[in-house]
Symmetry: C2
Subunit: 514 residues, 2 copies
């Protein structure tokens, strides 16, 4: 029985699902990105060796803390680390050796196989913003996010022609009790989208719920044997692994589900102010975290992550799209490739409060850096505003549109005879015009990437239509996409089972809001 | 006598200039950018060889047109080209051979020697927008540019801590007769700024005026022996060199002044829709143009240019910040390095009508591409709006601010022991905080690039201060810079001589407005 057979069998249902498939509006899967362009190698071999040597020194001499987690300490002791209290001193080379069992690439399956993604190698997977407690749009301004907002972001993600992934906590549904949010969020990803998604990490029990719900959606056998979730495990920088995050990692790794092991670093606060110092700490932390995932289950899929930004020393606020963040992101990419691990970083980052020019500059800086740095999994690729405090509807579609440019850039340059266009140059000759020539006519529809949001109209037309700025144009697109949205087909029996699981779990817990 | 002595002697004056210097506000020169980071090598060796071979085929088989220019045809014939009518067929390899006498790098002198720039090699020189007939600011909207606007842009350029160059036609002073504009523009650059500037190219006689005024400013001997102007010679793509532009080039090359020889290409209209085809045409055109400059005067300083954008096939409008433009810009950079010529391209390009998010995305895409493509001279680095039809005051300072990030990025990553920060990592340890540690305290002022325009404030503060977007913040900076501006010191005798030259020239011509 191959994977496809296993999934068809475990999906069950059949008739209803097929009927639903026939009636649902067809959304094309976002094309896979397999980079045909080189990575940008910012740092020299000498610099990389220094970082690697220093990271090993950090792990051995300073060590890392696994707090409130005796089982983790025992695992490390068994593996040969020198454990003193909660501090784990990892002998030079050990962490790297343990990382060797992590796969260089893996498939994250989506319930619609056309949307499954490859994570690692030359691939780039684009996923939306993660974590904001607030949302913003031009009409409603800035406000606490609700589950209704959450569902709309999932719908927008499903409709994007460039986004590969439905994400995780696209915004925090603050109107749902904290201890029940993950259920509603998972249900939304599983029912409103057929792209891959992320699991909950805010408690080990919620990670377990994520696995259970995935088993309902994909079938238990399929989940046992395949990766269907990628979840975000943040390291508590500097050098600390807390029990909550590690508990979630343990659940996922044991279930063969993927984790991103990622420091969350505001440079100057959680890491040194220097690029080399931050790179050293990031490498030490991710080596320890990835190694730990392999202690839980050798071969568990894992992604080496780096969320790095710098601090504004005047206001203490994190800043985004800055040169230092780019330098670190390029450097971690080089280190990840040397380790043979998939790499998560970058995104459409900005500190701006509005989807304005600042948001455009900073996000474009970050998105370009992510493409060139060889990132394999780009969380926060669209929708991020105000340093991650806000998920913006307009910015979601603005960024998602720019992701199309990354797709095109990543495809590289065709160099076949037709692309060389010598006959066109001959045909047109000095002083001529290419608009009418055969080569142009053949290729004009696909030759140039074209934005679906930005304004390309003549000034007079643009003015007559209301002189709209990008936010207004994006707002119109948000409304259009939500109006056009149709849920992807889902076997009604599976939907009912998911809803029953959520209802049962909710009923068994009192509401908690902190 | 060395260069400095020559200039001190020819400047004359003395007492008055020294007094003026003492009272003038000191503006720091923009720091030189010498890239300590690698270029991005997008195309393979095989692709580059194909382009080079095809470009030679274009030059030999199709040829280039030098229109209304018998002297140019004679020069080409003497050099061994096959001239048929106005079409010059350049035997394979000849153009490349002629380019060999062009210097790989040269100095463009400013009247303030601290502002002189090196053009070529690993250097990146940043210059403002060139050519818009309109200006825009939030208060006055979009309107025809005046000489008053022009002077204000020169003042803003002088005040920028990151911009190296005062530019040329920063906007078209449409209130001055066409045949006299160049005089007022040159006078503004020479008196309101002490950064390097560009000469006029709209008629050979105006190029001659530019050289004459430069001789008044720098001294005739100095100008004979040094490059004090860089001027923009556009090729009339495809493959056509018109008499006006070539006439200006002839004046400048003969006077040992530098020209940028640059196709102006909207892909799909003036070049094939494919990247490889456009690269082939760009290389053929610049090879012919640079070679011609060397026929006029072997050794004349010249910059290989490429202004490339693509066309929106729906509206026919040029588009900016697109992946295809980036691919071409990277490719031309590789070709220029193989030729050993300084390279001009990129800029803060956008098609947006407003300094909004679209402007931010597209400009950041273009600026990053310029840095990574190895550009040596970046015209249009700040102020460009609406496809180059508009010079925007707010966008001028927004872009100029982002140029600071390019400076920092270009500086690369320090890897000395202090930058490695191992002592800081030891001092802080797991769970600690870097804000208070000695390493942070020592470096926090210079560690991170900090915008002087963008908003980093807490949400509440930002809201209390009026919830300003980037355009509003930039508008405030424009007003502040213009209020703080003081003209750099200039020998009153030189100023008087420049004014007399302009007055005399103006009096000798009737006004012309077309």
């Amino acid at each position: 029985m191959d994977e496809g057979q296993a999934r068809r069998r475990t999906r069950g249902g059949g008739g209803a699902a097929r009927r639903a498939e026939r009636t649902a509006k067809r959304i094309e899967a976002a094309p896979r990105i397999t980079r045909a362009i080189p990575d940008y190698e910012l740092l020299s071999e000498a610099a990389l060796q220094i970082i690697e040597r220093n990271a090993d020194t950090v792990l051995e001499e300073i060590g890392v803390t696994f707090s409130d987690n005796p089982a983790a300490l025992a695992r490390w002791r068994d593996a040969g680390a020198d454990v003193r209290g909660e501090r784990v001193h990892i002998p030079r080379g050990l962490a790297r050796k343990l990382c060797a069992t992590a796969p260089a690439r893996f498939t994250q399956h989506a319930r619609n196989p056309a949307n499954s993604v490859e994570i690692g190698g030359r691939d780039l997977v684009l996923a939306p913003v993660y974590g904001p407690p607030f949302v913003r749009d031009a009409e409603g301004g800035r406000r606490y996010a609700t589950i209704g907002d959450f569902r709309n972001f999932v719908r927008l993600g499903q409709m994007s022609p460039w986004l590969h992934h439905s994400g995780g906590t696209v915004c925090e549904p603050t109107d749902v009790p904290v201890n029940k949010r993950h259920l509603d969020m998972l249900l939304a990803h599983m029912t409103l989208s057929d792209k891959p998604f992320m699991g909950s990490v805010t408690e080990p029990s919620r990670a377990a719920d994520s696995v259970e719900m995935a088993k309902i959606l994909f079938g238990a056998d399929f989940v046992d044997q395949n990766t269907v979730m990628v979840s975000l495990i943040n390291i508590n920088s500097p050098l600390t692994f807390d029990a909550t995050m590690m508990g979630a990692l343990e659940v996922y790794a044991a279930a063969n589900q993927a984790c991103i092991v990622s420091p969350f670093i505001v440079g100057g606060a959680m890491a040194p102010v220097s690029v080399m110092g931050t790179l050293t700490q990031v490498l030490a932390e991710t080596l320890a975290g990835v190694a730990y995932s392999q202690l839980v289950r050798p071969g568990a899929p894992v992604i080496m992550g780096a969320f790095v930004t710098s601090i504004d020393m005047n206001s203490g606020a994190p800043t985004f799209g800055t040169p230092e963040a780019s330098q670190i992101t390029y450097g971690v990419g080089q280190l990840a490739r040397r380790l043979g691990l998939p790499y998560r970083s970058a995104g459409g980052f900005t500190g701006s409060k509005l989807p304005d020019a600042q948001a455009g500059y900073e996000s474009a800086n970050s998105l370009n850096m992510g493409l060139m740095a060889g990132v394999n999994f780009m969380l926060h690729a669209c929708g991020w505003l105000e340093g991650g405090l806000v998920a913006s509807f307009e910015k979601f579609v603005m960024d998602a549109d720019q992701l199309g440019a990354l797709h095109k850039m990543a495809a590289g340059v065709a160099m076949d005879e037709d692309a060389q266009a010598m006959d066109a140059i001959r045909e047109v000759g000095p002083g001529g015009h290419y608009l009418g020539c055969g080569h142009t006519q053949t290729h004009f529809k696909s030759a140039f990437w074209r934005s679906q949001v930005l304004d390309y109209k003549p000034f007079e037309t643009w003015e007559e239509e209301g002189a709209r700025d990008t936010q207004a144009l994006a707002g119109a697109r948000v409304a259009r996409l939500l109006a056009d949205y149709e849920a992807p087909a889902l076997d009604p029996a599976i939907r009912a089972a998911l809803e029953a699981y959520v209802a049962e779990k909710k009923a068994a817990m009192p509401d908690a809001f902190t």
